[in-house]
């Protein structure tokens, strides 16, 4: 079952409104409007012909603006993209779901209630990229300290000079020969 077929099944089941197929150079993905994410995910999990029961990965990416070199048109708007990789063990299929969010206020509903595995992945995405997952049971930083400032995997992130009085300068603390 490839992504195209999944989209067709979704359309047939009547939940396909607004979902488009992203066909990159390599892996395709389904682009889902942020407000319909939970509904589509629930359907993906529960529909017997789909049964996407395992959440593999949640990725947040800061997409910078890309303009066409000649025409200066924006080919990719700046924003944050959240990608969910979901797997169906029954049908041996893997699908990527994409959600586009704005950089200023990246908010999307949490899917942790559908796939508990997404819980920690979403926390990490929040930690690294700063996506706020609404309805998440325990949305706090997971890898970085709780009082860390900024979201390191954003492209505009600047590494802090110090943290709680500890110098974070890159130069090693030992004397150089």
């Amino acid at each position: 079952m490839n992504t195209q077929e999944i989209l067709e099944t979704l359309n047939k089941d009547g939940v396909g409104q607004g979902i488009t197929l992203f066909e990159g150079p390599k892996d395709p993905a389904l682009v889902i409007p942020a407000d319909r994410l939970v509904g589509v995910c629930e359907h993906l999990k529960s529909a017997p012909s789909l049964q996407f029961d395992q959440c593999i990965l949640v990725t947040g990416t800061h997409m910078t603006e890309i303009r066409d070199k000649k025409t200066k048109e924006v080919t990719r708007a700046e924003g944050i993209e959240v990608i969910y990789h979901v797997r169906s063990l029954r049908h041996r299929a893997l699908v990527a779901l994409k959600v586009h969010l704005s950089l200023e206020d990246p908010r999307v509903s949490s899917v942790a209630s559908i796939w508990p595995a997404a819980d920690w992945h979403e926390r990490e995405t929040y930690d690294m990229v700063g996506v706020v997952f609404e309805g998440h049971p325990n949305l706090k930083r997971i890898l970085l300290p709780q009082d860390w400032e900024g979201f390191p995997l954003r492209k505009d992130y600047e590494f802090p000079k110090e943290y709680r009085g500890i110098s974070l300068e890159v130069d090693p603390p030992w004397p150089q020969q």
């Binding site: 892996d27 990725t59 063990l89 893997l94």
Partner: protein, 386 residues
């Protein structure tokens, strides 16, 4: 007895106050396999709530992936799941090769399979050895290390390093097999199989060991799927799922092997013993794969043409490549915009997902069981924190 209790006026009952004890297991604790901290709320010996806390070993893996070239990133992948560095290399290289559309020479593919399966055996040996250690059996740990040492020697022979190999490269492998190396592997496999039997006698079927692990930390299949468990932990819960068979990468579709699953021989399906047993059986399957690969390995090149270290470029695109690590599904999700450096490199570490199930299965177990459960899901903190 009942009469005396009734004879007492109710307000004179001795009010025995019990207090929940919060106890910090880790970050420095012998049984947490690294720097994991589990905050445990315990009622006497019984755990009532557990909350894993990670991040003590965070090394900015994904951020580094955005600043070094693909070729330079391969040695970093060694350091995530450092017990199965070959498999990590393999996953990353496959992901990049998928983006760069590289053709890998046959011989390189076979060498890759051999070294990753050897590394899988080494990793499982480590897992069962330290599991014995968690349960207080020291000697199996040393036996496992003795056998693992042989594997490390073989891997050291071909690539010069013992733990962080950086052997599987984008486009092939680093070196061709030295003379006598393949024969040495056969010798090792012949030596290894009886030793595995010994391990079973010493630890697997030991009455105390079985009592410590059977019916403990039961993860039902539903829970396992829900929490994204993969690899031996998912198979221990009774799901016959292995990426080497179900989503074949590299040349795994050419080999014949079984996928062992937990069947609840000693207790319930999905208990600690099942997870442990799946690992033992998997080592046997790896031996089978290696034997087949040794029979089939062809002569030829070991590096794809046109891979130059300083000028290697990927095509634009994004792709997810998953491989079956000893610990589960290791995935690399790479976004490339062309050029030498990936735009985003996301790592799906199996141990990270496995840890999140602790909150669910630890409560209600005893303190010694908590150690047994943490050991049985076999985590590597380097991979959890990345």
């Amino acid at each position: 007895m009942a009469a005396t209790v009734e004879a007492r006026p109710p307000d004179k009952y001795v009010d025995v106050r019990t207090q929940e004890l919060q106890i910090n297991m880790g970050p420095q604790h012998p049984a947490t396999h690294g720097v994991l901290r589990v905050a445990i709320w315990a009622d006497g010996e019984i755990v009532t709530r557990a909350e894993p806390d990670i991040g003590y070993l965070h090394r900015c893996a994904e951020k580094i992936g955005e600043s070094v070239t693909h070729i330079q990133y391969v040695p970093y992948t060694d350091r995530y799941d450092y017990l199965a560095a070959m498999n990590n290399n393999l996953g990353y290289c496959l992901a990049v090769e998928k983006l760069a559309e590289l053709e890998i020479p046959e011989r390189a593919e076979y060498v890759r399979v051999i070294v990753s399966e050897l590394n899988r055996i080494a990793s499982h040996l480590m897992a069962i050895g330290t599991y014995g250690l968690d349960l207080g059996a020291f000697t199996p740990f040393f036996y496992a290390f003795r056998e693992r040492e042989e594997i490390l020697r073989i891997l050291e022979w071909i690539c010069g390093a013992r733990l962080t190999y950086n052997f599987i490269r984008i486009g092939g492998v680093m070196r061709d097999c030295p003379e006598g190396w393949l024969e040495d592997i056969t010798r090792f496999l012949d030596y290894f199989e009886p030793r595995l039997e010994e391990m079973n006698e010493l630890l697997t079927h030991n009455h105390i060991f079985v009592n410590r692990t059977a019916n403990i930390g039961v993860v039902s299949l539903e829970q396992a799927v829900k929490y994204g468990l993969t690899g031996p932990n998912l198979r221990g819960s009774g799901m016959r799922w292995d990426l080497r068979r179900d989503d074949p990468y590299s040349i795994y579709d050419r080999f014949e092997f079984d996928i062992p699953i937990g069947t609840g021989i000693k207790g319930t399906v999905g208990d600690c013993w099942d997870r442990y047993w799946v690992r033992i059986l998997e080592m046997g399957e790896s031996v089978r794969i290696i034997r087949q690969a040794l029979d089939q390995i062809p002569d030829g090149e070991i590096m794809a043409k046109g891979v130059r270290h300083l000028a290697f470029k990927c095509k634009a695109g994004e792709s997810y490549q998953a491989v079956e690590n000893p610990r589960g599904e290791l995935g690399y999700y790479l976004i490339s915009e062309g050029g030498q450096i990936s735009y985003r490199s996301r790592i799906r570490a199996p141990s990270f997902c496995h840890l999140s199930i602790l909150e669910e299965i630890l409560p209600g177990s005893m303190f010694g069981d908590a150690v047994a459960i943490i050991g049985s899901i076999d985590i590597v903190l380097g991979e959890v924190d990345r």
